[in-house]
């Protein structure tokens, strides 16, 4: 039992970081019906940026979030303008899937030229510190990562509910046509939200590098998790993504401890398929038909 609870704690902490990455993905989908397959690669890119800042300029990885996130926001805006916005036609959404995949390959390629393919890890001095709470071990960096992710998710939700930009975003999510009629500049909202989605990846990525070793190819594993999180939560649903991320974290951690680590991520895919069997729109998804 002790081990199960320990695993649940671990899973929740990890799930929080995944929730942050997935939030960007689902937000972008909600606004422009674009699945950013490069989200995983952008996370890894951010992890490398933070790694480089740490190893060359000794910037603390948690502080580097403040540098990496705005930089990646700009990158996200550029990507949206150059690659995503230029897609036209009725199958622009499907094409975006492939364009962002190509982008992911490109990022992987560039990273492996610059950083090679060996695994890296950002290891600040406190990387190995462990806290013991009620007999359960909690790694300090994971706790930090979780708290940081939760804080950023809170900021994101405040941004969406309390600001003018947030209202424009939510209006666009609910009804793009109506939002345009109400004077929302759709292009601007889309570009900024894409940047915002990428910054979520960036913030999570800087943190990711501290808790996990990574290499340029790590994005495949990441994106498969992120995509199944957003599908499980319901495409476009922020709350759904958070819940699904926590479900994934806990499922994997418990299966790894109680059964076998090799079946951990498989078990999560099974959860996904079963949920889709019952609710094709995901846990919090809205059933919609293109009429």
């Amino acid at each position: 039992m002790h081990q199960v609870i320990q695993a649940v704690i671990l899973g929740l902490l990890i799930g929080g970081v995944y929730a942050l990455m997935a939030s960007g993905l689902t937000l972008v989908f909600g606004i422009m019906r674009v699945i950013n397959v490069a989200q995983g690669a952008l996370v890894i890119l951010a992890a490398y940026l933070s790694y480089a800042l740490f190893s060359h300029a000794h910037v603390d990885p948690f502080l580097s979030v403040l540098i990496v996130t705005p930089a990646m926001f700009v990158l996200g805006v550029l990507v949206q303008i150059v690659f995503v916005r230029s897609l036209r036609g009725d199958d622009a959404e499907e094409l975006s899937l492939l364009v962002t995949w190509a982008l992911a390959l490109g990022i992987e390629g560039v990273l492996s030229v610059i950083f090679k393919t060996t695994y890296r890890a950002t290891s600040p001095s406190y990387a190995d510190k462990t806290l013991t709470v009620f007999g359960y071990q909690v790694q300090f960096v994971r706790l930090m990562a979780f708290v940081g992710s939760a804080a950023l998710l809170l900021v994101l939700s405040l941004l969406l509910t309390r600001t003018k930009f947030g209202r424009a975003v939510r209006a666009t999510v609910q009804n793009p046509t109506a939002a345009t009629l109400l004077g929302v500049d759709a292009n601007r909202v889309q570009t900024l939200s894409f940047g915002l989605g990428v910054s979520m990846a960036a913030a999570a990525g800087a943190v990711y590098g501290v808790i996990y070793p990574f290499n340029p190819g790590s994005h495949y594993d990441l994106i498969s998790r992120l995509l199944s999180i957003v599908v499980l939560g319901g495409l476009g649903s922020l709350g759904g993504a958070v819940v699904a991320a926590l479900v994934m974290g806990v499922t994997e951690a418990v299966v790894a401890v109680e059964w076998q680590p090799t079946w951990a991520s498989f078990s999560y895919f099974i959860v996904l398929i079963v949920v889709l069997l019952i609710r094709p729109q995901g846990i919090f998804g809205v059933r919609e038909r293109a009429l």
Partner: protein, 409 residues
């Protein structure tokens, strides 16, 4: 309107044929003869295996450079034909097809990784080429029972940790571990080795208290180590690659779990990276294996290390063993040529099957399917440095047993 695609397809097809035919014509023109000795090598210069692929490339190129500065082989210059296989077995196989049937190279050397060597060796075998290969030591390569394969390391991958078992047996009974846990990576070069060690140790009465295989994308060793620690084993014996080995050590440090023996097949054997990844104070007493060591007194090793540092910079500690393995492949060809005055593939194959051959990797000899019959080195971190500690003849330091606690000298 529907005629256009037809024309287009025809043009495309014709274009391909013409291009292909043109290359075919030029390819036929270059024939083996008195020109340079051409050696075809497919290497992973991009993709998953590219780091090791490039290390092997450095070794091959260094050998060619050294050989050519001494007048080449049999009076002919050595020319390496290196092709990127993007870490894909399909491309590796294609590359060897090209080397043999298009470029008509004199010899071929192996690619990096068993996963690419296995399908490539079959191609070489079909055309009667010797397949001297530095990095394909997994069971899949030998499973085909090919007579043309020569693996240029002291022991097949599966037996690479046998040296650790021998070392444990050499200890006084009271010092030997009684229980062991085996957390291993699901990788052809990791978990099978741990399985092999487990089988041997069990025969010698070491109880297996825990065994698990984790997938390669597992980056979090916390739960695995936690579970292993809860069984209080005397030894942690992990079939690992670098990343997960670092993570295992970190998890042990975090959980303040310090068993008497820690043996990890890969990871701790990287003299430059390991201390930086797990902290220099946490390395002592950790065992690993190696097929090669910079200070090894093997044939031509001192010269190799010197030439390597001169050509690529760095220090002897930063030389990837893959470079030495590749270098050894070249040494073998030189020795066969010196002995038989021929580099004909048939001669190379039959000659290498007889006797022992001196290389930077030590003295090598093979059975009929190319499995080397020697033993790897047991390495241990002592006083913040990595030393070969067993077998005694090659040891540079006395082994340290048991492992000191984390953070101690």
């Amino acid at each position: 309107m529907s005629r256009t695609p037809a024309r287009l397809a025809a043009v495309a097809a014709a274009g391909t044929l013409v291009a292909v035919a043109a290359t075919a014509a030029t390819a036929g023109a270059t024939r083996a003869g008195a020109g340079p000795i051409k050696i075809g090598i497919s290497l992973s210069l991009s993709g998953d295996f590219s780091d090791s692929g490039k290390a092997a490339q450095r070794g091959y190129k260094l050998w060619a450079k050294v050989a050519n500065s001494h007048g080449g082989v049999l009076g002919r210059k050595v020319q390496l034909v290196i092709q990127d296989d993007t870490s894909s077995p399909t491309q590796a196989q294609t590359n060897y097809q090209n080397f043999i049937t298009k470029d008509k190279v004199d010899l071929v050397f192996g690619p990096f990784s068993t996963l690419l060597t296995a399908p490539s060796a079959a191609v070489a075998n079909r055309y009667g080429y010797a397949f001297i290969e530095p990095a394909g030591g997994g069971p899949a390569v030998f499973q085909e029972k090919l007579h043309n394969v020569f693996f240029t390391q002291p022991a097949p991958v599966l037996q690479s940790a046998d040296v650790f078992v021998k070392f444990l047996s050499s200890l006084p009974k009271s010092q030997r571990p009684k229980t062991a846990a085996y957390p291993s990576l699901d990788d052809p070069f990791s978990s099978p080795i741990a399985d092999q060690v487990r089988a041997l140790l069990q025969k010698k009465g070491v109880k297996t208290v825990y065994k698990t295989i984790y997938p390669s994308e597992t980056t979090d060793m916390g739960p695995v180590i936690q579970k292993a620690a809860s069984k209080h084993p005397d030894a942690i014996i992990g079939g690992t690659q670098n990343g997960d080995a670092y993570a295992q050590v970190k998890a042990m440090v975090q959980q303040k779990f310090s068993p008497k023996f820690v043996f990890l097949t890969n990871g701790p054997n990287d003299p430059a990276e390991f201390p930086s990844k797990v902290g220099a104070k946490n390395v002592n007493g950790i065992f690993s294996t190696g097929d090669w060591f910079p200070q090894e007194k093997s044939f031509g090793n001192a010269a190799f290390v010197k030439a390597y540092v001169k050509a690529y910079g760095g220090s002897s500690a930063t030389i990837d063993p893959s470079s030495a393995e590749a270098f050894a492949a070249g040494q073998l060809v030189q020795e066969v040529a010196a002995k038989t005055k021929s580099i004909d593939n048939k001669t190379v194959i039959s000659t290498l099957h007889k006797g022992t051959w001196k290389t930077v990797e030590g003295n090598l000899r093979w059975n009929s399917i190319g499995e080397p019959q020697g033993s790897d080195l047991l390495m241990e971190w002592i006083g913040g440095k990595l030393y070969p500690v067993y077998p005694k003849a090659l040891a540079l330091h006395k082994p340290l047993v048991p492992k000191p606690g984390w953070g101690s000298k």
